[in-house]
Homo-oligomer: 305 residues x 2
């Protein structure tokens, strides 16, 4: 489904998922669908049970383990999805580095931390890497790959190859920047979107419609450079040469970082309520995941020339 | 096609298209497909011929006119798509206001100018309004609606109703801001995208992949507020309360406005070349329009709950 119907051949046959919250269980589903033997672990047995219930019909290749060492045994790739606190991440990585097979790659779902810091001082720092997914990874293919200063280039290559082999789209960051790539670009849009509502130019629904019935339709197919490249006869060079000054003027007038104070958040909440009505979140999430899978199928069947 | 297969009943049966370049001819196709009698005019007869050739099989409801007055006769809505220079726009609007039927709405495709300025001094300033499409309007539904200070509220309502009736998504701006809504949010993404490439964090293809295989898949369905609303159990209020501080930190560190100097543009050009290979622009545009139409069909058949 998520891979657009292609037959997948994972380059790493046995994987472990450590931490089975919303992100971890989605990784487990993704790995198992791709054909990996998937060993899952959570230090909270109740969380592990919840994940198994959610995985439901997709458990053929999945085994749950009460001890970390059992989950790691034989796994060539480990996906860690624990709490986003640096001291917890460091403690988990100390455990993983001690208990995992020597050749195993230790990938982290962190959206915030630098692997140079998480793996600092570990004997196996060379096999530690960030593999940050978009929620939920079994639906959305991008994975941000961020090596630490000690990560072996071969581990970077193997991680990218593995992600590609299970139908994901790995994107390489050359070094750490706060919030990585995706959340920075998301923050850029959210900042301007909030500014437009806060200043009274337009309401929440109008701003969202500009994305969902406008820019987002192009961005589901091409990123900003691909779009710019199609927006002038002479491609991206002509586009930025012709419109560079206009963009500079516009960019210099974009809105400031909002306060996120309670009054602003409540105003955005009321605007969003007016837009979404009484739709249930679960139903909306199922709809989102269903339609994203169909858009990916369209793209897989009719790829960009 | 563009409307996702719904039967359309235009609220205004006869329209005129003034200026038949890339945007004007796309409007003509959109109007005619929706069932409007569509009268097209360009002061350059060669441009009019080119538009007729492009419209090809879709000319049943379209008539071309060599005189502006003939094109305007009987039209209840006029879509102006002339050059983006304020003095030319003002001159065109003087002509339109003199020659169009008294009840006709005079809509402009301008992406840059304030209708308060274009229509300044006109007897019919109350019927003048910006209706800025995304290129191409027969594929992408968003239309930014921006009244001038003298625009009659009834004209705003009639324009929005008309756009809705032909399958477009009108979004209302309450007052003028430079670059309107869409190009501001696009500029926010482009600024950060360029900054990430320029600083060496990632290459053009990686940055674009984050959008086309990540954020863009969600944004084809929901705008930033809709996405935020689905990203926490408690909706947009919980999301911005929980992540507000993290967003503020991130937003304060986003990249600066780029120089758009020739060296930077060439670097972006080389990155884009490496990403797109030898694909022809025409073929890529046909692919883009085909897939956007299919995404709109998916959304029309399976709308958001």
């Amino acid at each position: 489904m998520g891979s657009g119907g292609r037959k997948l051949e994972p380059t790493i046959p046995v994987v472990a998922v450590v931490g089975t919250g919303v992100i971890g269980r989605s990784w487990a589903l993704l790995f198992a669908r791709a054909g990996c033997r998937t060993r899952i672990y959570d230090r909270d047995p109740a969380q592990l049970e919840k994940a198994l219930a959610w995985l439901d019909q997709n458990r053929e290749l999945i085994s749950a383990h009460e001890k970390l060492a059992d989950a790691l045994a034989g796994a060539g790739y480990v996906q860690e999805s624990g709490p986003e606190e640096i001291e917890i991440k460091k403690a988990i990585y100390r455990e993983l580095d001690q208990a995992a097979d020597p050749q195993a790659i230790l990938g982290s779902s962190t959206s915030a931390h630098d692997m140079s810091e998480i793996a600092d001082g570990l004997a196996g720092a060379n096999r530690c890497i960030v593999a940050h997914p978009v929620n939920p990874p079994h639906v959305i293919p991008v994975v941000e790959i961020l090596p630490g200063v000690k990560t072996d280039p071969n581990v970077v290559t193997r991680t990218r190859d593995f992600m590609t082999s299970i139908g994901q789209t790995p994107v390489l960051m050359n070094f750490y920047v706060p919030a990585f790539l995706l959340n920075r670009m998301q923050a850029a849009v959210i900042r301007e979107a909030i500014s437009l509502v806060e200043s009274g130019v337009a309401d929440v629904d109008a701003v969202d419609a500009v994305i969902r019935d406008g820019l987002g339709l192009r961005w589901a197919l091409m990123g900003p450079f691909g779009v710019a490249n199609t927006n002038a006869d002479g491609g991206v060079r002509e586009y930025f040469t012709r419109y560079g000054e206009a963009y500079k003027n516009c960019m210099d007038q974009l809105g400031p970082t909002p306060s996120f104070d309670p009054e602003l958040i409540e105003r955005l909440g009321q605007g969003t309520d007016a837009m979404t009505g009484n739709a249930s979140r679960d139903e909306t999430l199922r709809w989102r995941d269903r339609l994203i899978s169909r858009i990916r199928e369209l793209k897989a069947k009719d790829p960009q020339p």
